[in-house]
Structure formats: structure tokens, C-alpha cells
Subunit: 209 residues, 2 copies
DNA sequence: TGCCAGCATTGAAATTTTTCAATGTGATTA
DNA sequence: TAATCACATTGAAAAATTTCAATGCTGGCA
């Protein structure tokens, strides 16, 4: 939670509604171009942040999960450059900008917490570039699976559709499918029920550092 | 400049050395793994921020130019995940973390300035993903050339080596070369002396939105 | 001035990825 | 239970990209 760093007294200053909201899979939290008076912290589930190109291509630029902040970009009042769509069941906490602003003035701890979030988002964006858009398609799929696996608390993890995986890696749906099918044949990937899956991390790591 | 938002009185509080430094082309400002007690603002020139993968591949994740901040990542005290290398002649202003910290406490304006920088870096990282790692190699090269052109104050702009362009786009040196050579034959790209070049933006835009 | 070193360009063959068109498969619903 | 829908998988051919090996070009240096 964004506010985990704050003391209780800080919360008492909040006189604006902070809502907990739940979304089913595939829901739009916000769209590209939306005015954004809120920031969202993800309490559980996975959210894809994507951008559309003028030519109609869509690219997923980041996955947000528990503890991540969505809508940071728009703290400046600009409309969102992204759309945020849930992949599975998602719970968020919706915080009005006004709350952030007033807390920002009074509590240095929030400042620091916000800084840390920026930092995390940036470093995630960069490692996305280095790890998920470099190498051939097998390597990219392997790295994505390991990232999803790492992100998960669980032994299993959420396996997106091949189309979404393609949009994350910059390759076609079919190419992703060919690779995941091969991994499955090798027993490196075991798709389970409900869009979840398990991987043999050692084997993948060994073959695709 | 980072401090352009600050009033003069704020500067008087600074009792630490802030140095202006100049680098020739190809100089290392800092390396991956370096402890980083500084933040750098770029006063002029172009800097590449890159990351190495364990397998030896290198990927350029961002270009920094006038007004950008390098070393933001390490405000938390962690060693740098990046290396920053100059492409041309570069002037930077090197600011100790301690200065940032003490200003941060006292001057809300600096806070805001820093936030804006984070925001800019993040949005740049994301559009890097969407625009520079999507589409075929001609499209990517075209987009990179337009980005370099936009960045430049000048009518001409700095044209990196084919190898660096490849590391930005996730394609091989030779592939980039084939594309730039073709663009040159079409008169869409005109390489000039001293690593500089000119493009026919209309023609490129038309062919590669 | 001429030579060198370091890029850049080119070509052909190998490989990878995309494209396009079927064909599976599993979960949900009638 | 059967029908249906949304994805996933597969295969073959086309297209794009990489690889590898030469060959050009140019600016700096002896």
C-alpha cells in the first residue's frame, strides 16, 4: 500500500473519499486520453498498461501488480497516455489527486513513498526494454514466463493470452503460441486451469539465461 | 536546468560543491554497478543510458539530452543499474545527493521539479518501448531518426553509429545499415559531416507514420 | 600526401518471424 | 449432452532479419 509508510495521524487528515473498487477480468480502469483525477494502488491482481500507436498497433508497456501505482503519469493533470486494463480479478484503492496533494504538502514520508514508486516504475520500464524486447522470440517468452513466475507469491502464476504476451514482447500471437507449445512439450511450461501455469525455472534459466 | 525553478535564495543554502564537467565523445560518466553519490543534469550534448544483460548483450534504454537528469535511479543509494556514456561532446552539472536531500527538505519547488523529471523519464521510457521496439526495422529506424531530429534545436541532428542505433532498436548493426543506406538513396536521409545528418521529415512521416 | 583504423555498406545464404488458412480444445450455455 | 465461442495450435509459404564474409569510405595521423 502506498500509505504503509504513513502514521495513523496522517490518515486523519484525509477528508476525501478513498474508495476500494473491484474489477472483473478485462475491465477498463482508465483509457488513453481520459482525464485522470485519481491515482490507483493495486491491492491484488494483474493490470496491463498499454499504449496505442497512431497506426492502430497496441503495445503493453508494463504489468502492474500488488503494491504498484497506476496513474502516476497524470499527477500533472495531463490526460492519460496509457490505458489500464485488468487481466484477472483486481482490487484497487482509488485515491483522488487532491488527497495526494494535501498529504504531499504535510507529510515528507509520503513524498518519499511517492519517489520510491516513481523509481520502481522507471526501473521496471527499463528492464522491460532490456529483457523483454531483446533476443529471439524463444528467449523473450522464456524471460516473460520467469518474470510472471517471480511476480507471483504462489507456486503457480497467471498466464496471459498469447495475444497479450505478443503485445508485451513485440512478436505475433502465433509466434508466441509456437514457443509456448514447444515449452509445454518440453515440460518446461505446464498450463493449469484458470489461466494459471507452472514453469520449470531451472530448465528455462539454463536454456535462456 | 534542474534548478531553474528555484529562486536565488534557495541557492544560497547550498554549501556543497556543484561542479560543471565536460566530456569528450565516448566518455563514461558512470558504469553499471558504480556507487553513485551524484546526480547529473545534462547541459548540452547527448548521452546514452544502457544496460547489460548477463549474456553480454547490451541495450540502450534511453537517450538523455539538454535538461535531462542522469542518475535519478540512484537517489536511493543503490548502485547504478545503468551505464551512462557520452555520444558527442557533453557538458554536465554534477550535484551531490546531499545537496538534493537538503534542498528537498526545505524547498517544495525542488520537489515538484524532481517529480517532473521522474515523470519525463518514465514517459520517455514507455514511448521508447511503444515506438522504437514495435514494427519492422524500417519503421523503427524511421522513428528513431524522427526522434533524433525532434530532439535537436538545430536543422541537423546527431546521427549515432549504426551499432548504437541497433542497440536502441533491438536489431543488428547490418540491418540498420541496410535501412539507412536505402533511406539515403531515397534522399530521405542526408548524412553530413561530423556524425550529423538531415532528414526529410515529411517523406519519412508519410511512409512510416 | 598516403596509409590506417574504424565504421559503413553490400551480397548471399541461413535462420527466424510473420502471414494466412485450417484445425484443435476447453469451457460455457442452450 | 451437444452446440458454440474464444483461444490455442499447427503447417506451409512468404517475408524479414541475421549471419558471415568482403569490400568501401573517410578522417586522423605519420
Amino acid at each position: 500500500m502506498l500509505f504503509s509508510d504513513l502514521q495513523h495521524e496522517d490518515f486523519d487528515r484525509i477528508h476525501h473519499p478513498i474508495d476500494d473498487i473491484e474489477y472483473g477480468p478485462g475491465s477498463h480502469i482508465y483509457m488513453q486520453g481520459d482525464a485522470m483525477p485519481f491515482v490507483y494502488t493495486i491491492r491484488s491482481g494483474l493490470v496491463k498498461l498499454s499504449q496505442h500507436l497512431p497506426n492502430g498497433d497496441t503495445r503493453i508497456v508494463r504489468l502492474l501488480r500488488q503494491g504498484d501505482l497506476a496513474g502516476l503519469e497524470s499527477l500533472n493533470g495531463q490526460p492519460s497516455e496509457y490505458e489500464a486494463i485488468t487481466l484477472d480479478h483486481v482490487r484497487v484503492c482509488r485515491i483522488p489527486h487532491s488527497v495526494i496533494e494535501s498529504l504531499r504538502r504535510d507529510t515528507p514520508r509520503l513524498h518519499d513513498a511517492l519517489m520510491k514508486r516513481w523509481q520502481k516504475a522507471l526501473s521496471s520500464a527499463d528492464s522491460w526494454i532490456t529483457r523483454l524486447t531483446t533476443g529471439n522470440s524463444k528467449t523473450r517468452v522464456a524471460r516473460l514466463l520467469m518474470l510472471l513466475d517471480n511476480n507471483s507469491e504462489d507456486d503457480s502464476f497467471f498466464l496471459p493470452t498469447r495475444e497479450d504476451m505478443g503485445a508485451m514482447l513485440g512478436v505475433t500471437t502465433e509466434s508466441v503460441s509456437k514457443v509456448t507449445a514447444e515449452f509445454t512439450r518440453n515440460n518446461w511450461l505446464r498450463p493449469l486451469a484458470q489461466h494459471r501455469a507452472w514453469i520449470d525455472s531451472e530448465a528455462l534459466e539454463e536454456n535462456f539465461e
